[in-house]
Amino acid sequence: MSGSKRIGILRFLGTNCDRDVWQAIEAVGLAPEWLWYQDRFEVSRFAALILPGGFSYGDYLRCGALAAKAPVMASVREAASRGVPVLGICNGFQILCDSGLLPGALVRNEGLRFIDQWVELNLVNSCPAFAPQAVAKTPSRLPIAHGEGRFYVEAEGLKELQDQGQIWWTYADNPNGSMANIAGVMNREKNVAGLMPHPERAIFDWMGGDDGRSFFTSLV
């Protein structure tokens, strides 16, 4: 894969969707590379960073809270401020919110149950780096698998997200009580994005759908 763009995949203790993301990155012809939670890295080497799902630190204290303080996050912060595209999936989304790189927080599902199902998502505002308008399918069908995926932000925060076009995806049929049906958001600059659904689990038809592919093809 020499010559193809290098995509950094972060690994914390308890990350468990890292392999799936690796396969997705390879499937679209990009070069994945692991980034260990205890290490800093040279930001300029990467075309994009992905924080996969899982249960970093066993969700101790608060989902994403301890991972948000891991040494590697200093480099992620630096990358984000330099405009490098950063994508957080599920637990990765929780980490980005808790670290302040994305607005809001993910709290326990309204119905308390862990939800594992396919959902239909509507693209509200396009993210230039991941599944931009040109390649994204809307509605998109992606799987979710989370116990703490209810997006919350205070009223002024929600208004700001709406005014600044930072709402990325919404659920067609809200499964977890998320505010304003929000499934994914972006930072104001739109280079940092996070969502609860798992695009890496929908790369080929045999997986049940391939709507997740566009999240990665847009990086090629």
Binding site: L61, R62, A65, L66, A68, K69, D98, G104, A105, V107, R108, N109, E110, G111, L112, R150, Y152, V153, E154, G157, G177
Partner: protein, 79 residues
């Protein structure tokens, strides 16, 4: 010195855990006006005075123990 950090979900955030506990209590005839579920963190801090220990605990709580968007915290000196 032991300092306890009590973390509770903010009142404007729906506390689904608290609601589940409340419902179970009600099913057993133990009705309460409200129930919220939080967490308790005990820190053992070496500090010359109680004020210094509380100050450190407050800094630590703000650093990682609570998320101001969804939670509040209170400190207590553990006797």
């Amino acid at each position: 010195m032991k300092i306890g950090v009590k973390v509770l979900p903010r009142s404007e955030v729906l506390d689904s855990q608290g609601r589940a506990v409340e419902k179970t209590l009600a099913q057993h005839g133990k009705t309460v006006a409200a129930c919220r579920v939080g967490k308790y963190v005990q820190l053992e801090i070496d500090a010359p005075t109680q004020e210094k220990a509380l100050e450190q605990a407050r800094e630590i709580a703000s650093f990682v123990l609570y998320n101001p968007l969804i939670e509040t915290f209170e400190l207590e000196v553990v006797k």
